[in-house]
Amino acid sequence: MVDSSTMSVPRLVVRDIKKSFGAVTVLRGVNFEARAGEVTALLGDNGAGKSTLIKCVAGTHIPDSGTISLEGVVQHFHTPSDATAAGIETIYQDLALCDNLDVVANLFLGRERRGGFAALDEISMEKTAKGALDQLQIIIPSVRSTVAQLSGGQRQSIAVAKAVLWAPKVVILDEPTAALGVAQQRQVLDLIKRLREAGLAVVVITHNVVDVFAVADVAIVMRLGKRVAKLRVADVTPEDTVAAITGAREFAEAVAS
């Protein structure tokens, strides 16, 4: 699987992105790619530029220079909705769910289906929501539970389902396991694997090396606004990865692309 996919063009290709905020240069020409059917981990210490890079891809920041291509087509994002429309869904740590609304309402928030008499088409939305959750094997007490009644892992899963419902090409998750207990972390990591099986290009931002080895196929390591390594997870050890993050060792892959 890895061999065949490396032959094709990656679904998301970021080339030589530079971004400064005033006098502070955060990204110094970063390359990044994510392939369909693979989980790409974006690793780095605090301040490495991971979040800024992702916000450029998600349309929140506009890069100073460089290109973002989706399936070989160069994109110009000015707002987050541009990126969403192009097929890039980003799930931030705050999850952006309404605790007071039920799961169905959250999944369709802002894109509600309408039936007769100007009313919401609750039945059709509930049916689609159930189907989507079943497909991702997300189990919750009821799709009519409010989000406030769900556990942290279930909320994270609902946020993922909300993104996947609109058939994106790329899903970006920002620190998806950061706020969770061990069992719920596993639940979310299993969900990420299912996104890969569904053929999505999945990007996981993390500084948790354990997560990387649990789900990622490729790890791209950033340090001080530069990409310093691209590692195939199957070929390296956790120690190598930590060494790349801290800069204790140089990796040849950093030069290659």
Binding site: A96, L97, N100, L109, G110, I139, S142, S151, G153
Partner: protein, 407 residues
């Protein structure tokens, strides 16, 4: 169950909560009960207390009818406030906005000799526009609602007092008076009750049929049948009771009609969904592409509209507009009505029907204290305490994790 989830992960707790979908429903009902039972108990106690204090003049068709006729404008005004509270905002101006509407209607009718329709429409339109103007400052210019509506509070008070100049404007128009003083004909009121019951049953059956057709599980039929029966019996008893005096007051019918329409808007339409979303998590709503500015703007217009409707009822009942008719105590009453009915001050929780429960409690207090001729200063103290108790219930309910008081 399929695959990996809470159910088969290592935690000991999730299986119990994830096992049966019906369990969640029961939990919601439990927490709902915990917050509404004290309200019902309070109403019963208040009724028994006033019954004993007024020598048996409190409980009965006559006082119930008079209560409905005199105080229906308060829950009507509260409907607009419910929408504002659902956003997590506040509108302090609605009390004096109601007075300004009453004044406008009185001036148009008594001084400008306009027909009733023009006077009523004039008052309602003025209030709606003023509500929208406040909404513009709050939503587009992002000024805090508290401060904007506090400014509105003073501006509307000043305008109304200036126009009234300390006097009372009598409104002799019979059409306007009939809104506040007439009754729904008996056959019509029974016909409407039967229509309501038929509507509940037929729409409920249609929904169950559609769910089955879509392959979705229906909740147990007992809940639906029980609810329809309870509402039907309650409506019939109330109408029969009111008919044993003079009939269903038109103002009560107007209240019920507006409650039905606004419940539909809040619970069944995309706009209502967006109101709840903005109140629940404005950032999530914005990122989901909801026009949060537009939603807030419209909601303050709705609050203004209901201030207008309340003002019309006020003039209709008193057949006059005067400075004592409405003011800051009306504002407190209306916020109490919403909060007593379970609308949260922090946004996103509660529903429009709550104005009926809260309205009944506040009207009972008003009526009983009035019958007992309690000093008005003491009335303020009692109402202040009631408001604080209601908010305490809201806070306790939230701490219990009752995040589900929706629809």
């Amino acid at each position: 169950m399929i695959g990996v989830s809470d159910t088969d992960s290592a935690t000991p707790h999730p299986p119990a909560s994830a096992a049966a979908p019906a369990r969640a429903g029961l939990q919601i009902d439990g927490s709902k009960l915990a917050t509404t039972v004290p309200i019902y108990a309070a109403i019963v106690l208040i009724w028994l207390f006033f019954e004993s204090q007024t020598g048996g003049r409190f409980i009965g068709a006559r006082n119930l009818s008079e209560m409905a006729q005199e105080y229906s404008y308060k829950p009507l005004l509260a409907i607009g406030v419910v929408f504002v509270l659902l956003l997590g905002d506040i509108d302090l101006s609605v009390g004096y906005l109601t007075l300004l509407c009453a004044t406008t209607v009185a001036v148009l009718s008594a001084f400008a000799h306009q027909p009733a329709v023009v006077a009523i429409a004039g008052g309602v339109v003025v209030c709606t526009l003023l509500g929208l103007a406040q909404g513009f400052l709050i939503s587009v210019l992002q000024m805090p609602a508290f401060v904007v509506t506090l400014g509105g509070f003073l501006i509307f008070e000043g305008l109304a007092y200036h126009i009234l100049s300390g006097a009372t404007i009598n409104v002799p128009d019979q059409t306007i008076a009939s809104i506040g003083t007439s009754y729904v004909p008996t056959p019509l009121s029974y016909a409407l009750v039967l229509l309501a019951i038929a509507g509940i049953v037929l729409s409920g059956l249609a929904e169950r049929r559609k769910r089955t057709a879509a392959g979705l599980v229906n909740p147990p039929a007992t809940g639906f049948v029980g609810r329809a029966a309870a509402i039907g019996v309650l409506l019939l008893v109330v109408v029969a009771l009111l008919d044993s005096y003079r009939g269903v007051p038109l103002s009560l019918a107007i209240l019920l009609a507006f409650a039905l329409v606004t419940w539909y808007v809040a619970a069944k339409t995309p706009f209502g969904r967006h109101v709840y979303a903005v109140g629940g998590n404005v950032e999530a709503a914005r990122r989901a592409g909801i026009n949060t500015v537009g939603v807030r703007w419209i909601v303050f217009g709705i609050a203004g509209f209901f201030a207008g409707i309340a003002g019309v009822l006020l003039v209709g009942y008193a057949q006059a507009a005067s400075t004592t008719a409405a003011g800051p105590d009306l504002l407190l009453d209306v916020i109490s009505i919403a909060v007593i009915g379970g609308v949260s001050l922090t946004g996103g929780r509660g529903n429009v029907w709550s104005v009926l429960l809260g309205g009944l409690l506040i009207a009972s207090l008003d009526s009983g204290l009035n019958l007992m001729s309690v000093d008005s200063n003491f009335v303020y103290v009692i109402k202040g305490v009631i408001l604080l108790l209601a908010i305490l219930l809201d806070v306790l309910g939230k701490r219990r994790g009752a995040g589900a008081a929706r629809t």
